[in-house]
């Protein structure tokens, strides 16, 4: 396992270095976990791109660095303490000519390449140090940069070569990657938000409306990039309110629809969520978390909006809330979100966060061509008689038509209404209509994803977590177990509704229950207690905008 950290200013091309290196590693058959850190600005500041590369599966971001690629001298100062004793620090020799550190390897960029190719040269040196195949990296770079039709790629190729050659002659022992089996066919490199977009496309997404907001925008940009091929209408709205109301309108008219936003935009959508619930219109909402309140830390990560989403929207109505823990789950649960939205005819939520959004992994293969589309689930128009959009039914779910299916008229209303969709103030009818809507929770429960139990069957300690915390928590369990402690984790990739049956007994029988979440309040722990009465003894929270890591969790556990 190697931990590579690329650091520098926005605008220096450090993401390019990270992406090409990652792609090379994935093509080489390795697993990766990428963690990106950036600031709310376009140029300058201090950004990072960390890659954890391993021969076998890995899912957690970890602390520590084996290879630091520092594009500025500030980067050296900020990160040298994280570098292992036998690690390596690559940087510009001109910036720190007299650096007294065994780990330092100053690169004479000025001699090797023009200034604007510095990042590519650094990539070459780093790749050489890792023992990556020169051609592999060159192809990855060509695909990444050439794919962008970048006219400068020829210059880049040379810079890469220069760097690689320079680096090859100065390889540090111990930094080379270990051998791996041949890369699995169909394995691709995706981050969480790309996987959500692709999962949604595979499910039959046909309408996406949005207002830009970090870290949700990349879901939209991925859909937009393929909208023409996939027949999807995308529209940037004037605000989040318009985005959600457009999506509800589109879904009402028969286009499976999605919106994506972050907390501050999501709260503006809540009335629309309530509208989707009242009109019983399928709708998938992606909420990409970042630290709040208000504008907060716009480019950092958090898991602070669980309570918000579970209680979002005025009035009472059923909903499903998914929280993928891995990039694969981003794909699968995006699909399931559409399936549940269609089956239950209402709003379904999908959580992500800045960490997961930007975290590239080696994933797949996805049998994309064979996956059945899930939407829309439409009834057949009645042979005779009037169509009643909100007719009673066994499950609470009324047969759904959309306009254009023959003569049937589809009447939907945000006011309380009769079965034919027209507004009513008959209070008994209103109460019955509300009760039928609530009954739909049964359909949602029928499609639930149970939580995953990981580790010891009868543990002394069980760590309860959700969403993107998964990797860090599971690895914490591994490390505890390796130290001889019977530990386990319970991970929820669906956080609402909570059905105690699959886990409550085992959880209640465990020793100490500790919630581990990227928030201060222990929000999942609170929901668990409310729904099952099971009480977590402690909460390990993180609110500094960085993702949970095994090291962070172990430190907090030890601090008790």
């Amino acid at each position: 396992m190697k931990r590579i950290l690329i650091a520098g200013e926005a605008g220096q091309g450090l993401v390019t270095v990270g992406q090409i290196l990652s792609l090379s590693l994935v093509r080489d058959g390795r697993h990766i976990v990428v963690t990106q850190g950036y600031m709310s600005r376009i140029r300058g500041g201090h950004n990072t791109y960390a890659i954890r590369a391993a021969a076998g599966p890995v899912a957690a971001p970890v602390e520590g660095v084996d290879l630091l690629v520092a594009l500025t001298s500030e980067s050296v100062e900020l990160h040298r303490d994280e570098v292992d004793d036998d690690g390596l620090i690559l940087g510009d020799v001109a910036a720190a000519p007299a650096m007294d550190d065994d780990r330092w390897l100053g690169i004479p960029f000025a001699e090797l390449v023009p200034a604007r190719q510095m990042n590519i040269a650094a990539l070459g040196v780093a790749a050489a140090q890792l023992g990556l195949d020169r051609e592999l990296v060159e192809r990855a770079a060509a695909d990444y940069l050439g794919g962008k039709k970048n006219p400068e790629w020829d210059a880049g190729r040379e810079a890469l070569d220069e760097g690689f050659t320079w680096g090859e002659f100065r390889r540090r022992p111990g930094l080379g990657l270990s051998a791996v089996p041949a890369a699995a066919a169909g394995r691709v490199m995706l981050n969480g938000n790309e996987a959500i977009a692709l999962g949604a496309l595979s499910a039959g997404l046909k309408f996406l409306s949005f207002y830009p907001m970090t870290p949700a925008t990349s879901v939209c940009l991925k859909v937009i990039a393929h909208a023409d091929e996939m027949g999807v209408i995308t529209e940037q709205a004037e605000d989040e309110i318009a985005a959600v109301n457009m999506a509800v309108g589109a879904s009402y008219a028969g286009a499976p629809a999605m919106v994506a936003t972050s907390g501050g935009g999501f709260v503006l959508m809540e009335e629309g969520v309530s509208l989707a619930a009242m009109t019983e219109t399928p709708l998938v909402l992606v909420l990409a978390q970042r630290p709040g309140p208000a504008t907060g830390l716009p480019t950092r990560t958090a898991q602070g909006d669980l309570d918000l989403v579970v209680c979002a929207g005025h009035g009472e109505f059923p909903r499903a809330v998914f929280a993928p823990g891995t990039v694969e789950e981003c794909f699968e649960l995006a699909r399931r979100a559409f399936a549940v939205a269609e089956a239950s005819q209402g709003p379904v939520f999908l959580f992500t966060d800045q960490f997961l959004a930007d975290s590239y992994r080696a994933v797949g293969p996805f049998p994309a061509a064979e996956l059945p589309p899930v939407a829309p689930l439409l009834a057949d128009p009645p042979a005779a008689g009037m169509y009643r959009r909100y007719a009673d039914s066994e499950t609470g779910v009324s047969p759904r038509l959309v306009p254009g299916q023959g003569e049937a008229l589809v009447v939907a209303d945000s006011d309380e209404h009769t079965a034919d969709g027209h507004l009513t103030e008959d209070l008994a009818a209103a109460a019955a209509m509300a009760a039928r809507r609530r009954d739909k929770i049964g359909v949602i429960r029928g499609l639930m994803v149970p939580p995953t139990w990981y580790g010891a069957a009868a543990p002394e300690t069980v760590l309860v977590c959700w969403g993107s915390a998964c990797g860090a928590v599971f690895e914490t369990v591994d490390r505890l177990q390796a130290r001889g402690r019977a530990a386990a984790a319970l991970h929820f990739s669906q956080v609402w509704p909570l059905d105690p049956a699959p886990f409550a007994d085992r959880l209640a029988a465990a020793g100490e229950i500790i919630s581990v979440e990227g928030n201060a309040g222990g929000q999942l722990a609170g929901l668990l207690r409310r729904e099952t009465g099971i009480t977590a003894a402690r909460h390990v929270g993180r609110v500094d905008g960085l993702p949970l890591t095994p090291e962070y969790i172990l430190r907090k556990l030890a601090a008790a």
Binding site: S202, V232, A242, N245, A255, L371, G404, G406, L409
Partner: protein, 285 residues
């Protein structure tokens, strides 16, 4: 000619006796009949307010959404199924007040919608507060010193935003209104029809009689393509001269033209292109 009654339904309007909405409803139905439309070809989208109840009182598809949000909901629906004749029908508070940002954006976006704004210059359903179009100085319980600021001029604003079809109708001029609605539906892009409407309960000044006095037809020699002339007609509202008819026409293509996938029919019924998706994913390897 088909009878307007194919659009009739059984619900009794919950409007006050004498309300201007009662005159608008048949004009809308007549326009649909004149255009030879069947109820299942038409979708009405409204917000919340007295005007926004109108779609419940006829036979068609109805999406009665949130206060202020009729335009975005209609936009989504029209893009999802361009075969539908989509008509937005709501109040001045809904479209110009709570929904003001959508009004600006919808005009720029130019989706093929026909937008009927029942402009009674007041918030009717919530009992008579000033709306954006209320006359300056109008006294209400919420504005005891009178509504402040000049009334919002929806037509002048729409003209400045280069809307493709800008017209004014009046509840008191039903035949003209029917013709305007037909022309609006004919227009391939967003058509705005602001409809002057007496609110007999809360707007005691702008009564049926008042509108009869203050309305006049757009001069027959008016050139719809002349923006300056159109603005002059729109600005006449500042002197409480309300020109009824088509004030302005432009020729921007509707947004739908940008979306070849939105060729017709229910968009969700188009199968997922699994082959293309497989290639997209493979390109990440």
């Amino acid at each position: 000619m088909a009878k307007a009654t194919i659009f009739d339904n059984h619900l009794e309007p919950a409007w006050c006796p004498g309300c201007g909405n009662f005159a608008i409803l048949p004009a809308v139905k007549q326009a649909l009949v004149n255009r030879g439309l069947a109820p299942s070809e038409v979708l009405f989208v409204s917000g919340i307010g007295q005007a926004a109840k109108a779609p419940h009182y006829l036979r068609a598809h109805v999406f009665n959404g949130l206060h202020g949000r009729a335009l975005p909901a209609a936009t989504g629906a029209k893009l999802a199924n361009p075969d539908l004749e989509v008509i937005v029908e709501s109040g001045d508070g809904c479209i110009y007040g709570e929904g003001g940002n959508h009004f600006l954006a919808a005009i720029r976006r130019n989706v093929n919608l026909t937008v009927l704004v029942h402009n009674n210059q007041v918030y009717g359903l919530t009992k008579g507060q000033a709306s954006p179009t209320s006359a300056a100085g109008m006294i209400t319980k919420a504005q005891p010193h009178g509504s402040s600021g000049p009334p919002f001029n929806p037509l002048a604003t729409a003209i400045v935003l280069d809307a493709g079809f800008v017209a004014r109708g009046s509840a008191g001029r039903p035949e003209e209104l029917t013709a305007l609605i037909e022309a609006g539906m004919d227009h391939p892009g967003l058509a705005l029809i602001d409809i002057l409407q007496p609110c007999v309960s809360f707007n005691k000044r702008q009564t049926w009689a008042w509108y009869r006095e203050h309305c006049e037809p757009v001069p027959t020699d008016h050139d719809h393509g002349d923006r300056d002339a159109a603005l002059r007609l729109a600005f006449a509202a500042e002197e409480e001269r309300f020109f009824c008819g088509i004030l302005y026409r432009g020729a921007r293509p509707p947004l739908e033209n940008r979306f070849p996938m939105s060729a017709g029919g229910i968009l969700g019924r188009v199968p997922v292109n699994g082959g293309a998706l497989a290639e997209i994913i493979a390109a990440h390897g």
